[in-house]
Symmetry: C2
Subunit: 308 residues, 2 copies
């Protein structure tokens, strides 16, 4: 569709906060509150489409299924919320073998159960189009696994981590090396749900996002939503070993900055967080930059292209 991003901006402007919807579209998940005093329920949806996010001719159905669920779990991680349950909608090409379809389902299911997130309902349709897998996820903010009931009640008041809380002076971190996910990690990543919960439990985390569009675009989302600027330190950006295996003519840093689908977390918060990799800092002036040996230049947002 020409104007896809215009459409998304138009659509988001129509979804405004309210007492019932304290966090509308624009974050990784929306938050819903049924009544004053209730905890927040977080909801999200993420679809993967044949030819865009996977290739049904090349990829094993379990891997495709895993990706469908894990993208949603990664959205939960980005807000440090606990996944609780998922629904599944399958648009199946006529003629798709039933065994292949069962393996797809098993991949989705297993990925959810790894985070105690069962599939509780769904819709299955058969059509002449390609395979589309849509997972919707429901989570809850601030409820720790394994806590006593009293602690759970207290923890309910912990708000989800949004994209909008970064302030000048905060540091910027990522949870792992970046780039080259096209070699397979875009299907096989582990969503950083546990890491996110631990970070929030131990440190002041001010804003967070999962790296799906690529670091350059995702830090721009954080900067925009927080009305701040972000300066990345080129020497600190961790480059994944897969980048060397790509063996193309692009600079390794270019891959780490602009490739998508790393599904690591990128967050801002207090200094000195040893369990993540510090890659930059938050500044007051809105925009995004990258610094080479102290020389700051605008960070060109690599146009994220799904590369299948």
């Amino acid at each position: 569709m020409p104007g896809e991003f215009e459409f998304i901006d138009w659509l988001r402007a129509r979804q405004t906060p309210s007492a019932r919807v304290p966090v509308p579209a624009g974050d990784d998940l929306a938050a819903l509150r049924f009544e004053a005093g209730d905890g927040l329920i977080l909801v999200g949806v993420d679809q993967i489409l044949d030819g865009v996010h996977f290739d049904a001719r090349l990829h094993a159905p379990e891997r495709i299924g895993r990706k469908a669920m894990n993208r949603n779990l990664s959205d939960c991680a980005a807000m440090a919320c606990l996944p609780t349950a998922a629904t599944l909608s399958l648009a199946l090409p006529r003629g798709l073998p039933i065994d292949w379809t069962k393996r797809l389902y098993e991949g989705i299911e297993a990925a959810g159960l790894a985070f105690d997130c069962p599939i509780i309902g769904g819709d299955t349709g058969v059509w002449d189009g390609p395979l589309a897998v849509t997972v919707s996820i429901i989570g809850r903010a601030g409820e720790e696994m394994g806590q006593t009931s009293a602690a759970k009640t207290a923890a309910k008041t912990i708000p989800p981590v949004r994209r909008s809380g970064a302030v000048a002076g905060d540091r910027v971190y990522v949870t792992g090396p970046l780039g080259g996910s096209i070699l397979g990690r875009h299907l096989d990543f582990v969503p950083r749900v546990r890491e996110a919960r631990e970070l929030v439990a131990r440190h002041r985390i001010s804003a967070m996002i999962d790296l799906s569009d690529g670091l350059s675009r995702d830090v721009a989302h954080l900067a925009r939503e927080s009305s701040v600027g972000i300066v990345l330190n080129a020497a600190a950006v961790p480059i994944h070993g897969d980048v060397a295996r790509l063996n193309d003519n692009r600079a390794p840093l270019d891959h780490a900055l602009h490739d998508g689908e790393d599904y690591e977390l990128c967050f801002t918060g207090e200094g000195g967080i040893a369990s993540a990799i510090e890659v930059g800092r938050v500044v007051a002036e809105p925009d995004v930059w990258i610094e080479f040996n102290g020389q700051r230049q605008p960070l060109t947002k690599g146009a994220f292209e799904h590369r299948l």
Copy 2:
């Protein structure tokens, strides 16, 4: 996919009840309980696919959008639950005009807002496949609109109406005339959310479903889930005026029994409910029948085919 129904049976057998999921897949919505003592959260998902549920070349985008939302609201009606919020996933064909897409969205949004059910999040993708529109809905059981806060709290304990509660001796009802929805009603129906809530408030309703697959198939769902039989009275089945306009060689009753997508409610409950149309009775022996002048014969389940 060959074996679609085998796949769905296989899939449902994997989704079993638990403390967290008291109502798993198999009803119109699944029910989720975060903690003992909390109210139930109902969740569902329903997709509409180009060439199956609508034709993007023929139908106005507002009507397609309305159908996508209203099918989900009809699932809420079937359980007498209050819709609260929805998420939206759009798989958009490359080249779809942005204005057409906005009108699609406006149709979805307006249908939701008619029942105080805003769209709170979503996912938009562009691909080489046909248009797929997936709406996920979140509702709450037992919370009456317009009640005081104290009454709301009490009403939270009212359970959702399931498919499994019919008992021998109950009567079977539908909320309106059936058949011929292909002429346009399958796009333009009004989900029976208010009617469902009123019925449950005033009467003993034991099981309910919305008529999407056609009366013959949907009463079979009720009978199977309730482990009872249902006998329809042929003379009592209300035939929609659209059936006469179809002007084909099939008997009008055949359309009323087997056409799909009426989106009226079919429910079982006490006798004498004047606000609905009594069409049969629940018996102990499991199966479904239709009675002509007191002569009972098996009700052949018309294979529901989406007819676009």
